[in-house]
């Protein structure tokens, strides 16, 4: 079911966590709410879940206004950043909790729990307690617990935040696969742009309690609405008074049409990418991102000369212009 957030404002004392936020999440989509820490992402998720009440605005799920409906009657699946496992219950009892609340017949609960544990690959851990699981397993248990009640929408608050890098990457791929299998409308909060780009169909960039831009991962990366979105979604460097992606700077050994002369200051190789830090004639500093092979061909050394120009695709945005932002 779709989620519709209309002009929601939420204040905590003098702090405005959400400032007139509107957002449409299409039915069956996986949308990432991306933004820096403390910029209102989690608050928006909590307001949608009914754990916090908005001061202004409304929330609709599947076309029904639920603004005044308490959390326990919204039928949403929620995962906390901490996963909030029920510590004194086993994995199976955790997953069964929402079903027992709904007074489902015992046989139905048993088969549903088995199905959910199978889905999140925790069948063998059914009788363990949360304290006996790894972080990734607790995360999957929390997901199974939320999914067991067959929620209208799934809300995930930094679902991979508390896990180490490799587990994060595996779970991301797994979560995307799960979504493709279940097609449940999912809103996921993250501060990690790579995570948002990799997992989501739609990315909503939130900053300072406002939605800055909503679009597909490529849209927001290539056509950022403003400087904030541009700099938050990927590396950026200033060139001719505008922000530009470092991989959109072409570095050459010879002058060409529209190119400017620069002095190479530093060449840093990080895995397959090479970062070239340069000083322009007017004293500005920029950096470019090149594939390793290309950098090797150019034989760049610090102190050497190079000519730079902007590649004619990708993100370009005038810093002074209609674009609001930094």
């Amino acid at each position: 079911m779709d989620i519709s957030v209309r002009s929601v404002t939420k204040r905590y004392g003098t702090v405005t966590a959400l400032d007139g936020v509107s957002l449409e999440v299409q039915s069956g989509s996986l949308t990432a709410l991306l933004g820096p820490s403390g910029d209102g992402k989690s608050t928006l998720l909590r307001v949608i879940a009914g754990l916090d009440m908005p001061d202004l605005g409304s929330i609709a799920i599947g076309g029904n206004d639920v603004t005044r409906v308490p959390a326990r009657k919204r039928g949403i699946g929620f995962c906390f950043q901490s996963y909030a496992p029920f510590r004194h219950l086993t994995v199976a009892e955790n997953v069964a909790f929402g079903l027992k609340v709904r007074r489902r017949p015992r046989a139905e609960i048993r088969s549903k729990v088995a199905e959910m544990l199978e889905l999140v690959r925790l069948t063998e851990q059914a009788k363990r307690f949360p304290a006996q699981l790894s972080g990734g397993q607790v995360q999957r248990m929390a997901l199974a617990r939320a999914l067991a009640i067959e929620p209208a929408v799934l809300l995930l608050d930094e679902p991979f935040g508390a896990l180490d890098a490799q587990v994060r990457k595996d779970l991301r791929v797994w979560l995307r696969g799960l979504h493709d299998q279940l097609h449940i409308t999912t809103l996921l909060v993250t501060h990690d742009r790579e995570e948002a780009m990799e997992v989501a169909d739609q990315v909503a960039v939130i900053h300072g309690g406002r939605i800055e831009q909503v679009g597909s991962p490529l849209d927001v990366y290539d056509q950022p609405a403003n400087d904030f979105v541009l700099t938050f979604l990927g590396p950026a460097t200033r060139f001719d008074d505008r922000w530009i992606r470092p991989h959109d700077i072409v570095v050459d050994r010879r002058p060409g049409p529209g190119s400017r002369q620069a002095t190479v200051e530093r060449v840093v190789a990080i895995g397959f990418e090479v970062r070239v830090h340069m000083l322009l004639g007017d004293g500005d500093r920029i950096w470019a991102q090149l594939p390793r092979a290309e950098a090797a061909e150019l034989e760049l050394t610090s102190g050497g000369r190079a000519w730079v120009r902007v590649r004619q695709v990708g993100a370009e945005l005038a810093a002074s212009g209609e674009a609001a932002g930094l």
Partner: protein, 266 residues
């Protein structure tokens, strides 16, 4: 190495001189006249009445303070409201006020000529010098323990599990019974144990409000004191040992269930 032994020795010596040896002495002296004499001393009508009175009033006070304590702890930990500081201070008050003062305060309030004593006697309700006063006195002195033991556990627990339960459709009552209560159960059990111990052992406040009327308002502690003052020392020792055994069994019950649970989890 030697330092560690020294510290252990000092600790054990301190406990022995202060607690273990005097308590041991009471058991020794109480049992020395023989079991028949001890049984006679604790099964006399006044002793049986004192035992039943102590247990009866104690149970009421413990239940009341358990319910109040959990409620007050939830209120203080989970909510901000005007007067929270005052409530917290009042919960600690019984710890800092002498039981004698508490007894006098209860007499002044509920007694003949007291603030509401007149109204009470007009409705033929006698509080002071009757069992209800004992309930009031022991409930007063034992009030802080459940609140104090449960509060830190609730703080540690946080609210996310409860919010999670709400999103799963659980009502506040169900969430409390299925999640909050199991999570705080050991803090609560410890608080109840301390409350029981305090209730069973209270002397000062009870002696003032109850009047210590033999066979009517005499609790076990008052009976011990009464017999001791009337030169029935073997009788006093026997009842004292009975009192100690009841307290010890409450403590024993707690540690038994605790070790069982730990064995189950490991």
């Amino acid at each position: 190495m030697r330092g560690r032994w020294l510290i252990r020795g000092l600790g054990l010596g301190y406990l022995a001189v202060l607690i273990a040896l005097p308590v041991g002495a009471i058991f020794w002296r109480a049992l020395s006249p023989g079991l028949a004499a001890v049984w006679a001393a604790v099964s006399s009508p006044d002793a049986v009445h004192a035992l039943l009175l102590t247990l009866g009033t104690g149970v009421i006070a413990v239940v009341a303070n358990t319910v109040f304590g959990v409620g007050a702890a939830l209120l203080l930990v989970r909510h901000r409201f005007p007067g929270a500081g005052l409530l917290e201070a009042l919960c600690d008050l019984p710890l800092s006020v002498s039981p004698v003062v508490i007894g006098l305060a209860l007499v002044l309030f509920y007694g003949e000529g007291g603030w509401i004593g007149g109204w009470l006697s007009a409705h033929a309700i006698q509080v002071i010098f009757s069992p209800p006063s004992i309930v009031l006195a022991v409930a007063f002195v034992s009030l802080p323990y459940v609140v104090r033991e449960v509060m830190p556990v609730l703080q540690e627990l946080g609210t996310e599990q409860e919010q999670m339960a709400a999103t799963l459709g659980s009502s506040p009552l169900r969430t409390f019974l299925r999640l909050t209560l199991p999570a705080i159960r050991w803090g609560l059990a410890y608080g109840i144990t301390l409350t029981c111990a305090r209730v069973l052992g209270e002397f000062g406040a009870v002696s003032i409000v109850s009047g210590s009327i033999e066979g009517q308002t005499q609790t076990l502690t008052l009976l011990v004191n009464d017999r001791f003052s009337n030169f029935d020392q073997p009788g006093a020792y026997a009842v004292a040992v009975l009192l100690a055994l009841i307290s010890l069994s409450v403590l024993g019950l707690l540690s038994l269930s605790r070790s069982r649970r730990e064995a189950a989890v490991r």
